[in-house]
Point group: C2
């Protein structure tokens, strides 16, 4: 029994296009509809045959859907919800894949009063963007966090969860506020730090940009990957999850100051103890199947 | 014509053992000798057949070498040099693979007056440690920075450079102080930041350790890789390259404060502009062959 018969995906970037590919691969009889605000992206999506129908308007995309999944930048969610309101069937479930759940839940609820809303966040991605970058196995073995409002219909929550399980994800339920705190640590802060250090390095006057690039294999290149993620998406994430991000940033800055002090005062033991502790975290991530055990992420050494 | 006939490697961890493997693969007639301070590591090295001879003492290892390469933690270099002084042939060249060159050059020069010293730093590695972790292709396509003193014998510099080229590295020459500044940005600061953020995440009381691990695919896991590097090695690096590291840390902190302010005041344009700029750096690193173009570092998506 399929959880949904007609699924519409709005926003055909890395996540939206991967979702269409994954649903088609695992549930080929589901009728798929897609829409993107960009005419160029819609053309590419048609060329790639990502859905049964790629529509030119949001309204046409949702008109007979029983599930609509919004895959647009966090701060565009509210406007897209408004735009589809008049054409959305009353019994359709609305979901999304955004990285900050509290603000999105509020925006969708305000735009679509009375509609069943079940936000979700697949913790998966790559540094690439756009419809060509997606692939069907992106969500396999990754977590998808479902964050329904407290009064959500349990059947609606279960149907959305089942869709994600069918395409290979492990589903976990969380309230939106706790989700935003957890992701502030495991995703938003790392991106913010990576963007900052790549910016710092490219601004130095004593070290040329070409030297930074040339010797990046010493560690820097690991940071550049996530600092290559979509700028619009991440701008929205930081503004939307502002409080949790600022709180985590404050803690990080305090810890960094403590380390700075340890270096200044030659406190080798403090450094050694931290560096030993952090090693154990890596081991746990690998043991739980959340990263590749191959050294250097499995990069090829030709 | 081989640059050296008898090479000794002191310290048989990731880099030392990779060096032995690479030299044997590319120059099989070179006679290889190895030594490590740990009896356990020496046993493993013998079992892995990493060299023609694994000696129990530093002295025995260097007695007939024409090149000795020290692959020990930065702050152990001086003591190892002292320990081999009495047995080192006068015409042998001494080199090393440490990540901070100014302090090492000073320590080796003080311990071995009159000896030809040609420090070098291969910008390569993985998060794994120990003799089992090494592999022959580690240096292929990576840069090796040679930092001889101003008055170094040019033949000695060329011979050391040629050894690295033979095992696949691209060789660049730099003075020790500039090397230390460049690597503070491209390697030392990234490691420090990664260690800090992994520490911060594991200290939170509102987010459990298991949540951090579970949802690490959102970006955090990229940081855990380099925060799993050898604690002794990195303690020494930060203490040895203290001034450059503190300078870079100061700049990073200023940039982070600016970003923090942009988030607090909802300055989306400032965020968007930085995030667009950093994306270009990633592209350059890939164009210059310093990282894998495959998305997500080429991690396998099963």
């Amino acid at each position: 029994m399929l959880p949904f018969a007609r699924v519409t995906v709005i926003g055909l970037g890395l996540i939206g296009s991967s979702l269409l590919r994954a649903i088609r691969a695992e549930m080929p009889t589901v009728r798929l509809t897609g829409h993107d605000a960009s005419a160029e992206v819609r053309d590419i999506a048609r060329h790639l045959d990502l859905a049964d129908d790629i529509t030119d308007t949001v309204g046409a995309a949702v008109t007979d859907a029983d599930l609509v999944i919004l895959c647009v930048p966090v701060r565009a969610m509210g406007d897209v919800a408004e735009a589809m309101r008049d054409d959305l069937p009353g019994e359709a479930i609305v979901s999304d894949v955004g990285s900050c759940k509290a603000e999105i839940l509020a925006a969708l609820t305000a735009a679509l009063p009375g509609q069943a809303i079940v936000p979700a966040h697949p913790v998966a991605g790559t540094e690439n963007s756009g419809p060509e970058s997606g692939f069907a196995s992106l969500f396999k073995g990754r977590w998808c966090i479902v964050t329904p409002p407290a009064d959500a219909d349990s059947t609606a929550v279960e149907r959305v969860s089942e869709l994600w399980r069918r395409i290979g994800a492990n589903v976990e339920r969380m309230d939106a506020a706790h989700h935003d705190l957890v992701l502030a640590v495991t995703s938003h802060l790392p991106h913010l730090i990576a963007y900052t250090i790549v910016g710092t390095a490219s601004d130095l006057e004593d070290v040329t940009r070409s030297e930074v690039i040339k010797y990046s294999a010493g560690g820097f290149r690991d940071f550049t990957r996530i600092a290559a993620s979509d700028p619009t998406m991440w701008r929205d994430v930081f503004l939307s999850n502002k409080d949790a991000v600022l709180e985590m940033l404050q803690r990080f800055s305090e810890d960094l100051s403590a380390l700075q002090r340890a270096i200044r005062w030659n406190d080798g033991d403090a450094l050694f103890n931290l560096f030993t502790r952090t090693r154990a975290i890596r081991r746990s991530i690998i043991e739980e199947g959340q990263d590749d055990p191959a050294p250097d992420f499995g990069r090829t050494h030709s």
